[in-house]
């Protein structure tokens, strides 16, 4: 099955889980949060989404320029990020 991986699915971590952890805090899983903390979490969401878009764009660029697909592109991007 050939497919394009997306941020949030693999290892090493690529930023996709940040939104999930932020939502757990928003829901109150770890206790109530203040309005100030809620605003900070909103900013985490916005920035996480931008980071994921950036990583996705890197992956697309890697695929196009290096003529690799899927997991190979993701590995190349993750090496660059490190």
């Amino acid at each position: 099955m050939h497919a394009r991986p997306v941020p949030g699915g693999g290892w090493p971590p690529d930023g996709g889980a940040i939104g999930g952890f932020a939502q757990l805090l928003e829901i109150g899983v770890h206790g109530p949060i203040s309005p100030t903390q809620a605003r900070a979490l909103e900013r985490i969401h916005v920035n996480q989404q931008q980071a994921v878009l950036l990583i996705t764009e890197f992956m697309h660029q890697a695929e196009e320029r290096l003529h690799v697909r899927g997991d190979a592109a993701q590995e190349l991007v993750q090496e660059d990020v490190r």
Partner: protein
């Protein structure tokens, strides 16, 4: 601020989270336990299949990308055995293929959840899958 819209359960159904990515596993386990589900975890396909047989969970969240035994193979194997064929399986997938849903259905899953995981969506999908089962079985 997101408001939970799923009613919390007490001593709810047993869910097996089969996922090799630690972050995704923590998120799934945490949100499910918050809403009252009992949860067991597996980080490999082999462990997932063993736990499915021994613990008989009501539902499995199955990562399709586990390295030892991928989730599609694990699902087909569980669905082929009498003791595990009735377990509901929802696929976790990091892929973005248009035919993912059909692929999941063909393997024996009732549907799939795309990554990255959105905790509330995950709870909704689990609740919906379990409700559909209880409706079917009366």
């Amino acid at each position: 601020m997101i408001t939970p819209v799923v009613e919390a359960r007490v001593d709810g159904p047993l869910i097996l989270v089969a996922e090799d990515n630690q972050d995704n596993r923590i998120i799934a386990v945490t949100i499910l336990r918050h809403f009252g589900y009992r949860v067991i975890e597996a980080s490999t396909g082999a462990d997932a299949m063993q736990l499915a047989r021994s613990e008989q969970p009501a539902l499995i969240l199955m990562d399709v990308g586990m390295l030892d035994i991928d989730g599609w193979t694990a699902t087909r194997t569980l669905k082929a055995h009498e003791s595990t064929k009735s377990i509901i399986i929802l696929a976790f997938t990091a892929h973005t293929l248009r035919d993912d849903l059909q692929y999941a259905l063909d393997a024996g899953c009732v549907g799939y959840l795309a990554k990255p995981i959105a905790p509330l969506r995950l709870v909704h999908e689990v609740a919906r899958a379990l409700d559909e089962l209880s409706t079917r079985t009366g």
